[in-house]
Each structure stands twice: as C-alpha cells, then as structure tokens.
Amino acid sequence: MSRFLLRRSGIALITLLLASVLVFVGARALPGDPAIALSGEGFDPAANAAIRQKYGLDDPLPVQYGRWLILVVQGELGRSTRSGLPVAAIVRDRIPLTLELAGLAMLLAIAIGLPAGVLAAARRGGRVDLLANAVALSGLSVPHFWLGLMLILLFASSLRLLPASGFTPFTEDPLDNLRRMILPAFVLGTGIAAVLMRQVRSTMIETLGADYVRTARAKGLSERDVIVGHALRNSLISVVTLVGLELGALISGSVITESIFLVPGFGRLIIDAVVSRDYPVIQAVALISAAAYIVLNLGVDVMYSLLNPKIRVTRASA
C-alpha cells in the first residue's frame, strides 16, 4: 500500500510542477514589463534593475523558471501592484476565511446529501425518493450565486433574519461569525449536496442489490443493520471520491459566493485582482489553488486506499 502512496505522491508532485510551469508561462505571456508582472515591484528604474537580477530575467527561460520556483517555495510571492503589500501576507490573511467557508459548506453538503441519498435509496421509487431527486435536480440546475441573491432577498431584506454581508472574525465573536457564514456556506454547499445525494443514492442502490447484501439479509440482519453496516460503508468510498472531485468546484464557488456576500476571503481576492490587473496576486492565487487541489486530491487518494481493503468494493464509478 505504501508503494501505491509513493507512486501517487510522485504523480502529484509532477502534476504540481507542470501546473507551476503553466502559471509561470502565463505570467511571462502577459503584456508589459515582466519584472513588474512577476514581482509587483520595480516601477522605478533603479529598483527595476534589482528585480531583474533577482528573478534572473536576463538568463535563459528555464533558468528564470528555476529561480522563480525557488523564490515561490520560500514564500516570496512579490507585492500587490494595487496595494503594495506583500502578496504572501495578503494571502495569509484571507485564506482562513475561505477555508472556514469551504469547510462549513462541505460539512453542510455531507450532512444534507448523505442522509438524503441513503433515504432515497432505501425508499426507492417512493415519495421521498422522488422528492429528493427533484430537489437534487433543482440544486444542480439553479446557479448557486443566484440562489445566494434570492436567499439574501428572503432572509436579509424581507425577513431580516440574517445579515446580508460583512463579517466578523471567528476569534472576535464566534456567534456573529457563524451567523454571517450560514448563508454563504449554505449556498456553496447545496450544489455539492445535490451531486453527493445522487451519487450516494446510485451507489447504495447498486450495493443493496449485490449478492453479499442478500446473504446478510438472509442471515437475518435487520434492514437497518444491512443499510448502515454494509451498504453505507461502500458508499463512503464514493463520497470520498466525490469530495475530491468537487474540491475544484468549491474553489470556483467560493469566488462567486464571497463576491455576493462580500466576504473578504481568498476567492474574492482573485476578482479584485483581475479588475485591477494585479498580476502577482493573480499568479499567486492560481498557483495556490492548483496546489491546494492537487494536495487535497492526494489526501483523497490516501483515504481511499485506507477505506479500500476493509470493504468489499463494487465497481463504484467516480
């Protein structure tokens, strides 16, 4: 098993490097002075010369890439052309918020999607199933940023239950923080909940029809034991796989959600950066998103292999 993990880590590393090459090439393809594009500094000639040296801009391209990579790994991400602040610091400030949002959203998604999928599979064809399917389908079809707008309309404007925007750090006032997080997390999580519910439902239906489950029933196990003990464990594998696949959607989704709810997180950073042509920030966000995705997927692979030997897996499609 560890050989498998070693292989997967190797592949993840290669993918990460390839991604970094793409980001680097993208940054160099931008119009304008590469020194400014890469570092966000060097607006005056004297500083510019120093930047050119630091990034090795007069050396051949592969060397440039190497130097850039070393700087990045050390945490040197340049300065924002908009605010002049070091990018690394900006990112460090904003990431926790997005992580909290994403975490809450995923929790919500699992809390809603998993039981819904199980119920729908257990009462297949019944009213619960149909309802769950309808809701899931709507969840997939409705653009979730619009859902966010509608929810703001409903809860903030009309009912005045929850605040529409702004935020308080968790450390200052946890309750207020969560109050403000509920809507965005819900918006972000429902799309994933829909996909999750469908996947769980189909995997469970497949498993419930499998031979070894029939044997369990024949042995006299109660329906609840059959579902929870056997079928559910199998579904966990698809849940894990799906979580991995949906992480990309989470990152994209957080951008929009944060824009609507005015949460100053990592996702919103990229929009602000694009609007103001803040190249170093854009680079950093692209790189970090890709790295996060790759690392998280590796984590999913690890979990998958941990779950695998203990459960007899029917060919669940990812």
Partner: protein, 290 residues
C-alpha cells in the same frame, strides 16, 4: 425476422432509442423545453418586442405587467423581456461552442490514447491531470487577464475545462471497445488502424459522447452566467442573463424582479438540458428496462 437475443444486449440499438426516450415524460418535457430555449435564442431578433439596448430614462425600474413592458424595465429603462430573450443567445453560444471545443479536442486525443496506449497515452493522462488541477474559474480568469474578458474567451475557458473529463470518458470507452471481438474480426479482415478507429470504434462511442455533451451544456449555461456576473464574460451592454444579475444586485430591495427573472431563465434553461440529458442517459443504458 425477429432477433432471439441471449441475455441483455450490450448496447441499446439506435432504433430503440427514440421509443425508450419517449416513455419518460420528464425527459420529453426536458427535450421540448431545451428545444424551446434554442429556438428562442435563434429567433431572438424576430421575437423580442424591443431593442434590448435601448434605454428609456422616463421608464426606469417599472414593475412587471406595466404597459408595454410585460416583465418591467431595469435601471436604465431597458425592457427586461427583450433582454431575457436576447440573453438566451449568449447562453446558447457558450453552451454549444464550449461543447464543440471540448469534443473536437478531447475525442481525437481519447481515440489515439485509448487505441494505441503506450507513451502517448501516458503523456495525455499526465496532461489531463494537470488540467484538472485548475478550476474553471481560474482558467477563465487567466484568459480574461491575458486576452481580455469577452464571451468568446469565457466560452473557450469553459470548453477547456471540460476537456479532461471528456477525454477520460472517451479513452475509457475506447479501451473497452478495442477488446471487443468485432475489432479482432476487423483486424483479421486486414483493416487498417485508421479504419478500425473511425468506422468501428468511433461510431460505438457516439452514444456516450452524446450523453456527456448534454451534461456539458447546462454546466456551460451556468458557468457563462457566473462569469458574466463577475465581469469576466459578456461585457455590457450586450445582454446576458449573468450581466442582468449584476445590474440587478444593487436594486434588490426596490426591484426584486430584476434578479428573479434572469435567474429563472438560467435555471429553466439548465434544468431542461439536465432532464434531457438524464433521459438520454437512461434510454441508452441497456440495464434499465423501460
């Protein structure tokens, strides 16, 4: 002459497809609605009552069912229903062309990769993994920054992001098909590789491609509206449902219909393609009886 088939057929034959599809009411509804959206998009110049860009400062923020404006007007006096109708064009453009891009790139690579395996396959898979690491928004942002925001660039970004999954699916089908006995028969016939790939394997992959395409379209519709909402896609004053939502945001209290209408349009459009796609998938699955 009737067929006496042993067990389940491996693939649903084409002639049975339409029959199986029409047995599902939801799928048929989806198909009709989807067709409707496409028709509206194509006929926009002829059916929109007014010019979607013409402003009327004397008729700002009129509610629905006002005279001359069945769905009201926005903050610049533009007719909402006309903008909604014209907005269908942006969505359909994004939907169709991004799918086309994805298919034209992913399918040939998937065919070669799956049939020949070996080195080209390994390279393609590594590249796919790399592409998968970038969420579509980052790709769209990248393109917007380098090339400037526009519907075309947004469409390209959406298409690019679909390539890895489509490539995986195609490759998977090809891997399975090349083990089929009739492929061995074609080899024994003396067929060239090109013939086998194009006349034996590709036609049998088409079913799956069709289903995947119907999954891409609703995704593209939502993606385009999201990107336009963020300012990375369609640029105002061109109407797009996403752009309409951006302009609606500040007026949510006073004129909630401005946000409601385009959102409903997006939802209905994507729902119809989702239903259509689901129905198609079920109809093509030989394991499902009826």
């Amino acid at each position: 002459m009737t067929a006496a088939m042993a067990g389940f057929p491996r693939r649903v034959p084409s002639f049975a497809l339409i029959g199986r599809f029409s047995e599902r009411p939801l799928a048929v509804v989806g198909a009709i609605l989807a067709l409707g959206v496409v028709a509206i998009a194509l006929a926009a110049p002829f059916i929109a009552p007014r010019d979607p860009a013409s402003t009327d400062f004397g008729a700002l923020l009129l509610p629905p069912l006002s005279e001359g404006h069945p769905l009201g007007t926005d903050d610049l006096g533009r007719d909402v229903i006309s903008r909604v109708i014209w907005g269908a064009q942006a969505s359909m453009q994004a939907g169709v062309f991004s799918t086309l891009l994805a298919v034209l790139v992913a399918v040939p690579i998937g065919l070669v990769s799956g049939y020949y395996r070996g080195a080209p396959d390994l390279i393609a898979m590594r590249l796919t993994d790399t592409m998968l690491a970038f969420p579509y928004l980052i790709v769209a942002v990248g393109l917007a920054v380098v090339l400037g925001p526009s519907l075309t660039n947004a469409t390209i970004a959406i298409g690019l992001v679909q390539i890895p999954k489509l490539l995986r699916v195609t490759r998977g089908e090809v891997l399975a098909l090349r083990e089929e006995t009739f492929v061995a028969g074609a080899v024994a016939d003396g067929a060239t590789d090109a013939f086998i790939i194009f006349r034996h394997i590709l036609p049998n992959v088409v079913n799956t491609l069709l289903v995947q395409s119907t999954i891409i379209v609703p995704y593209a519709i939502i993606a385009e509206s999201s990107l336009s909402f963020l300012g990375l896609g369609v640029q105002p004053p061109t109407p797009s449902w996403g752009v309409m939502l951006t302009t609606a945001q500040p007026y949510m209290d006073r004129a909630p219909w401005l946000a409601l209408v385009p959102g409903l349009a997006i939802s209905i459009a994507s729902l119809s393609f989702n239903l259509f796609g689901d129905g198609l998938r079920d109809a093509l699955d030989p394991r499902l009886r009826r």
